[in-house]
């Protein structure tokens, strides 16, 4: 006698993952639970910083209190000798320009090396070698090439830093496609162009966003370091250098804080765009 197995309905099991149900508030609770420890540690750390400096009676030039930094940030927000907001905006513009240049160049090389094996053979070793150079050392040269006062010299510093992670990640995303996917496309007699559009590009998107998360921070670093070596005065890098030489360390810290906040905002924008452009990736992560 046989155990009869019915028709095919749902024989191979239910879907491993369900779409999130009616649980918006539950998700809110979960994200609060997720971020709460980090927030607590952060707030606790600030409080500890404040208290420790009072207790040890540390001088402001060693480490100002958080409250003093905030006060300096407020006092020098939009006006005065150390106006921070316009400086941050100017630096952000340089960083954005550099990010755009570096990303476009990185993408161009990535596509070329994904498309032509010879290009990969020539470009990748060169790029790796170039990446081993301490790129920050180029800052004075950039100022020389593109003009000390020209924001482009800072943008190029940012671009050089951005180039490598974009190029390396996107190349990997375009090239490291599941071999089966290429065989499948071959069985459809698909052209290289079709394979690029339907397989390689979507495959490379998560890699691209990973690169962008690194690149946004790097672009700010590049711009600020470029500014250290001279140029326009109303930029974050100059504010840091000048306030430090004037021993106004609370302002220096304020400028650093503003730079950090800009970097974090930058990063969060990339994350938000990523969620919109490749929603399946968030789903994938949730499954694993």
């Amino acid at each position: 006698m046989s155990v009869s197995v019915g028709p095919m309905a749902d024989l191979t099991g239910r879907p491993a993952g369900r779409r999130s149900g009616p649980g918006g508030s539950r998700r809110a609770v979960r994200s609060v639970r997720y971020y709460l420890p980090a927030v607590l540690v952060f707030v606790g750390g600030i409080a500890l910083w404040e208290v420790t400096i009072s207790a040890l009676n540390l001088q402001t030039f060693v480490l100002p209190r958080p409250s003093a930094i905030l006060a300096a940030l407020g006092a020098n927000w939009a006006t005065g000798r150390f106006a921070l907001l316009p400086a941050a905006i100017a630096t952000l513009q340089e960083a954005l320009l550099g990010l755009a240049i570096g990303t476009i160049a990185g993408l161009a090389v990535a596509f070329a090396s994904a498309r032509w094996v010879t290009a990969r053979g020539i470009l990748l070793p060169l790029a790796v070698a170039a990446n081993a150079v301490p790129i920050i050392a180029f800052a004075p040269l950039m100022n020389n090439w593109f003009g000390l006062a020209n924001p482009l010299s800072k943008a190029m510093m940012a671009a050089v830093l951005v180039f490598f992670p974009v190029m390396a990640n996107v190349t990997r995303g375009l090239v490291q496609v599941e071999p089966g996917a290429l065989e499948l496309m071959r069985s459809y007699a698909a052209s290289e162009w079709t394979i690029l559009r339907k397989v390689r590009l979507p495959n490379a998107l998560p890699y691209f966003f990973t690169a962008m998360k690194i690149a946004t921070t790097l672009s700010l670093i590049g711009a600020i370091v470029g500014e250290y070596f001279g140029g326009a005065t109303s930029v974050l890098g100059r504010r840091i250098v000048e306030s430090a030489s004037a021993l106004k360390f609370d302002v220096t810290w304020g400028a650093i804080l503003l730079g950090a906040a800009t970097g974090i905002a930058f990063y969060l924008i990339v994350v938000a765009v990523e969620r919109i452009v490749i929603p399946w990736q968030a789903g994938l992560r949730a499954e694993s």
Binding site: S2, V3, S4, V5, M8, A9, D10, L11, T12, G13, R14, P15, A16, G17, R18, R19, E178, P179, G180, A181, E183, L184, M185, R186, S187, Y188, A189, A190, T194, K198, V199, P202, L205, I278, W280, Q281, G283, L284, E287
Partner: protein, 291 residues
């Protein structure tokens, strides 16, 4: 019985393999004789299984038929054309051990992929994709993403995709090798039902003797090093076959016959039981043998 879903194709065998050899070399040195003197004809509407121990070249043979790799010598004609011509004419539907679904596409969009490449218009694509997903009983999962499905369901999507553009032959390379035994048996029944409904010719590579016997009209038994066809066993089990078929005396006799043929060919059962080193080894070697 519904009308055949496959396109009309010329009479004569779907696949004619004559004197096919395949060697993998590194430089000038022949490393492996993967296939030697393979002759095989597959008639329209047949369900042929290739079975053999790891490294017997059964996956390589399938890949040669599908023009994913070329033979070192010998000829392969598919629908009377060279394999490459047949591939360019989109005569093949392929299903691999891994379902190869794209996570950025929904289930429905995955099935539409080949239809997009073939340049069919949007309404036709949608209608066809839904029809195929109904066929594999996944009509309720059109908008799901692959990672939301179980392994068996993913493989059914891959089958729907392979059938979507009405290929005249379906090449299946251990499609259920990664599934557990229960799921595998259910998928076997499902493939049989689809095969009966569509009339598609199927060439099926497997490590599993019960699977080969249950599904096939003929089982092609191969031996390793060099990969040769040592036996072809007609499976005369009545159709339609169902789960009860697995308990009949004739079924057991045929399972035994295939097992003995494998043993006679030098493939130990343990070899035949190991899931997968072979195919991946062959693929690695194929990649190493450029030029």
């Amino acid at each position: 019985m519904t009308a055949p879903l496959t396109a009309q194709a010329p009479a004569g065998p779907v696949v004619r393999i004559a004197g096919v050899n395949k060697t993998f070399s590194r430089g000038d040195q022949v490393v492996t004789k993967a296939l030697e003197g393979i002759d095989l004809e597959v008639a329209r509407g047949e369900f042929i299984s290739l079975i053999g121990p790891s490294g017997c070249g059964k996956s390589t043979l399938l890949r040669i038929v599908g023009d994913l790799t070329s033979p070192s010598s010998g000829t392969v004609l598919v629908n009377g054309k060279p394999a490459e011509r047949a591939r360019l004419d989109r005569d093949y539907g392929m299903v691999f051990q891994s379902p190869v679904l794209f996570d950025w596409r929904t289930v429905e969009e995955n099935v539409k992929l080949p239809l997009e490449i073939l340049g069919q218009d949007a309404p036709t694509r949608t209608a066809r994709a839904r029809e195929m997903l109904e066929l594999v009983e996944l009509g309720d999962f059109l908008k799901h993403h692959p990672y939301q499905l179980s392994g068996g369901m993913q493989q059914r999507v891959a089958i729907a995709r392979a059938l979507a553009f009405q290929p005249s032959i379906l090449l299946m390379d251990e499609p259920f090798g990664a599934l557990d035994e229960m799921t595998r048996e259910r998928m076997n029944s499902e493939v049989l039902r689809i095969w009966e409904q569509t009339g598609t010719t199927i060439l099926f590579v497997t490590h599993s003797i019960p699977e080969a016997v249950f599904l096939s009209s003929r089982v092609v038994v191969m031996s390793a090093r060099p990969g040769r066809i040592t036996n072809v066993i007609d499976i005369d089990l009545p159709r339609p076959r169902n789960e009860d078929t697995r308990e009949t005396r004739r079924y057991f006799e045929l399972v035994t016959a295939v097992r003995e043929a494998l043993r006679a060919g030098g493939g130990s059962l343990d070899d035949a039981g190991t899931i997968d080193g072979g195919a991946s080894l062959e693929r690695t070697m194929a990649e190493g043998a450029v030029g």
